[in-house]
């Protein structure tokens, strides 16, 4: 397996004002949309929200749909516990997000773009709206038929799931839809839609600026480019760090840990908990553990029971509630570890709960319920004695 040594990068947060972005956009749209999409495919860029779908393919599928109306949506519903990178991106380099959206609109044939901003980030609205006003005007001046607007969410975690996000944007209750159809066929308002993460869209602007080859120099075959990480927990360097993808977790811990690191939760509450003994063999990237960027570091003072308990409380509350495995499964996992802890149920009940988590993984309606097994199994497997005693 190809691994990279940890390298700090500075691409995403390179200052770019509105005019510079417009410059990149106007240059890009002189090319054919097919060429642009080929470049994005060639770059190997995968979605930065966590799921890692190849961005270029998503665009290609949407472009191929025959529809007069299409949409570009920026998913800024950054709700994963431990993730705070999109806020920083929108706060400091928002025009690069607008640029990515515009290039996408041009490439797939969409005239409208929306940023779905999580309710808790409404404090960014005045600034973003002001930037957008200027940006939209410049698009118009440059005869680029695309406008961007912002829609605010109301704080439900589930609305970061793309189809629940569409429902929310349409004014309905934020509940995930059945798939298929996928957003590329029927997304917002049932029209073909590209929905990309904030960071993905910034990467688009950067790829268009510097070319796919330059982008490909970073990362590994399966995980091209750099990634913004939200580092938190027992670390002297809590905050936002842009790092090359494909590094071993051991390198990361050496750099960011406090010398007493017991485990790292990679990918937020819905991600995997990696114990110390696996640091060396764990690659941060799509070939290893993919992540939307959240890296929570725990040292030996932390109770992994409490960590898991917190996550399960979170999922129990944030499940949209429509599908059985997620709504009831989360509650059972939470109450289950509580009852084992209290000695009401035998430790072997954890095995029953793991089976239940595996059912949730394959039968829940959306990514929320499907991913609860990640923290549950990885924490229970690696820290069983902390759950029981």
């Amino acid at each position: 397996m190809e691994t990279k040594i940890l390298k700090k990068v500075d691409l995403i947060f390179q200052e770019s004002n509105v005019n510079e972005v417009i410059d990149i956009v106007t240059k890009t749209v002189t090319r054919s949309s097919d060429d642009i999409i080929l470049d994005i495919i060639d770059s190997g860029l995968k979605g930065r929200g966590g799921a890692g779908f190849p961005t270029g393919l998503k665009w290609k599928f949407t472009k191929n749909e025959d529809s007069a109306v299409k949409y570009v949506i920026c998913n800024a519903d950054e709700g994963e516990p431990g993730t705070f990178k999109d806020r920083e991106i929108l706060d400091t380099v928002a025009p690069k997000v607008f640029g990515g959206m515009t290039i996408c609109g041009y490439s797939i044939g969409a005239k409208e773009g929306y940023i779905y901003l999580r309710g808790e980030y409404n404090f960014l609205l005045p600034k973003l709206n002001k930037q957008l006003e200027e940006y939209n005007k410049l698009l118009k001046d440059n005869k680029i038929d695309f406008t961007i607007a912002i829609k605010s969410g109301s704080g439900a975690y589930i609305c970061g799931e793309e189809s629940a996000l569409f429902e929310s944007m349409e004014g309905k209750r934020g509940e995930p839809r059945n798939k298929p159809p996928y957003p590329t066929v029927a997304g917002y308002n049932s029209k073909p839609t590209v929905i990309n993460n904030v960071e993905t869209l910034v990467q688009i602007t950067m790829i268009c600026k510097m070319g796919p080859d330059k982008f490909k120099e970073l990362g590994t075959k399966d995980s091209r480019g750099s990634k913004v990480f939200s580092v938190s927990g027992d670390t002297p360097q809590a905050g936002i760090h842009e790092l090359e993808l494909g590094m071993p977790l051991a390198d990361f811990v050496e750099d960011f840990g406090d010398g007493d690191t017991k485990a790292v939760q990679v990918g937020g509450a819905s991600g995997h908990c990696v114990p110390r003994k696996q640091f060396k063999d764990t690659i941060i990237g799509f070939e290893g553990i993919p992540t939307g960027g959240s890296m929570m570091i725990f040292n030996s003072s932390r109770s992994m029971y409490n960590v898991l308990h917190d996550y399960l409380e979170f999922f129990t509350e944030e499940s949209c509630g429509q599908c059985t495995p997620c709504r009831v499964g989360c509650q059972q996992l939470l109450k289950g570890i509580e009852s084992v802890k209290k000695g009401e149920r035998k430790p072997a009940y954890l095995d029953e709960l793991k089976k239940l988590a595996n059912t949730m993984k394959i039968s829940a309606k959306c990514g929320l319920g499907q991913s609860v097994a990640n923290p549950f199994n990885s924490i229970v497997d690696n820290f069983k004695e902390e759950i029981i005693y």
Binding site: A156, E317, Q322, T324, R327, Q331, L356, T359, A364
Partner: protein
Amino acid sequence: MSEYLVNLKINNIPVSVKEGTSILDAAKKLNFNIPTLCNHPDLSVAGNCRVCVVEVKGARLLSASCATPVSEGMEVFTNSEKVRTSRKHVIELLLSEHNADCTKCFKNGHCELQSLASEYRVGDHVFIDLVHAKDKIADISSPSISKDDSKCIRCQRCVRTCEELQAVSALAVIKKGDHQRISTFMSKPLNEVVCTNCGQCINRCPTGALTERSYIEQVWNAINDPSKHVVVQTAPAVRIGLGEDLGYDPGERVTYKMVAALRHIGFDSVLDTDFTADLTIMEEGTELLTRLKRALVDGEKVALPMMTSCSPGWIKFQEHIFPELLPNLSTCKSPQQMFGALAKTYYAKKKGIDPKNMVSVSIMPCTAKKFECNRPEMRDSGYQDVDYVLTTRELAMMVKQAGIDFMKLEDEHYDSIMGEGTGAAVIFGATGGVMEAALRTAYEIVTGREVPFTNLNIMPVRGMEGVKEAKVMIKDVLPAWSFLEGAELSVAIAHGLANAKKVMTAVRDGKANYHFIEIMGCPGGCLGGGGQPIPTSPEIRGKRAEAIYSEDEHLALRKSHQNPEVAQIYKDFLGEPLGHKSHDLLHTHYKARIRY
């Protein structure tokens, strides 16, 4: 759906189905049964209970078979180890948040969750009980519907019913996660919100979360009280639905066995709502002709189109949603309430019974009738006109409780008076039936001739299309009706409140030119009423409709004005349609209600 065929394999057996077919339906074609809970033939696909999951070869996730369309070359397994484990887990999870006091439950023996639990033998493994004590207190604020959240499995069939079929949305999903519930606006009690009491949610609830408010015990008490004379009336649609709860297939007519059963149960007078259905035609037909005359001859501003008023769910809907159109509603009470008012006056007088000792019970395909009989204006006899309303389902329960072998009963006939009904009254039970009955009589009153349709069957107003329209040319009228000469009567029929809303919106916006509109609150009309046997589906309602029209064809008298008992009541008691007595006993008024 496309005509293009897709080839796939289910449990290794090849099958070809049309593109767009769900895996569930494709499996049905091969007679593989996949259990479902949130799926319902009348509703959009939800895919949220996850009990119907199947394994598709090569897929990381299981697929909800109800919500996943087939694709070429797909290989599906409906009973693999993964599927069985997941399915069992889903059932166990649902049971863990379900108040499984099955023996005490109204739906015991008719509960879809109960049958799945029994099929999958989930008793040996139990998750932690998650039922909240607060949820165990059922909302019984409505006289029609009881809502018990502790039995709810969040399948949202009721929510989709209320929104998609009825356009009411009294029930909706609130909150999320472990706090998610099916509730009302601001979680107000059902009797304070826009709920029309139609009971369609009950017909589609897989468990005992939504049931009718039952008055069986009160009725038994009345029957067992020797000082009471208990009269019972039976609505048209009960006779073609009741059999389904007593061992028959849908579409069986059991009118005269039902009469026999009611006598066995102990009702003192077994009478027929069909009588007042015929009477409704006389009153409502006259009202329509009068409104037309006032508009056309006297040039008065009269509320037209006139709309039928037989369906109490529809009436309450109109009071909530289109109060500005209340003057357009016929002032006629529903046949049930006409019957109630006459039972404690006319019938009591004729039979020498003190109305104070009379208990008036009606058997209805309807839950809204339970609300209707409690409306304060429904006391024109000086007493509550109808004391208790039982659904078709409740009657079936009473038949079983009474130990009656229903199928072996000999036919018996209704008592007289108020026991005679024509075919025109029977078809009140199907969408379009009131319109057809009204046309059979009104046309004849105006022209002196029978309606110009073969065998009196007015086919254009029949059938299950959501909104139907018809036009009837009126020519060669009798002298008294000369103002109608050459007029073309334009009518519309809608069933299910979502369809009613479409028609009412057009009327309100001045985009519809009808004279007369029939609306039934429930899909299919009363035969699909909220008090009818469960399950329901387009297919079942189709069979019930066939039975209704066959009942009509088998009767000698098929026009309301031919009913001899109707002629007699006008002669002995009422005088004339829309007369003083009619006004006092048979007509009513409506009130605007809040919109949440």
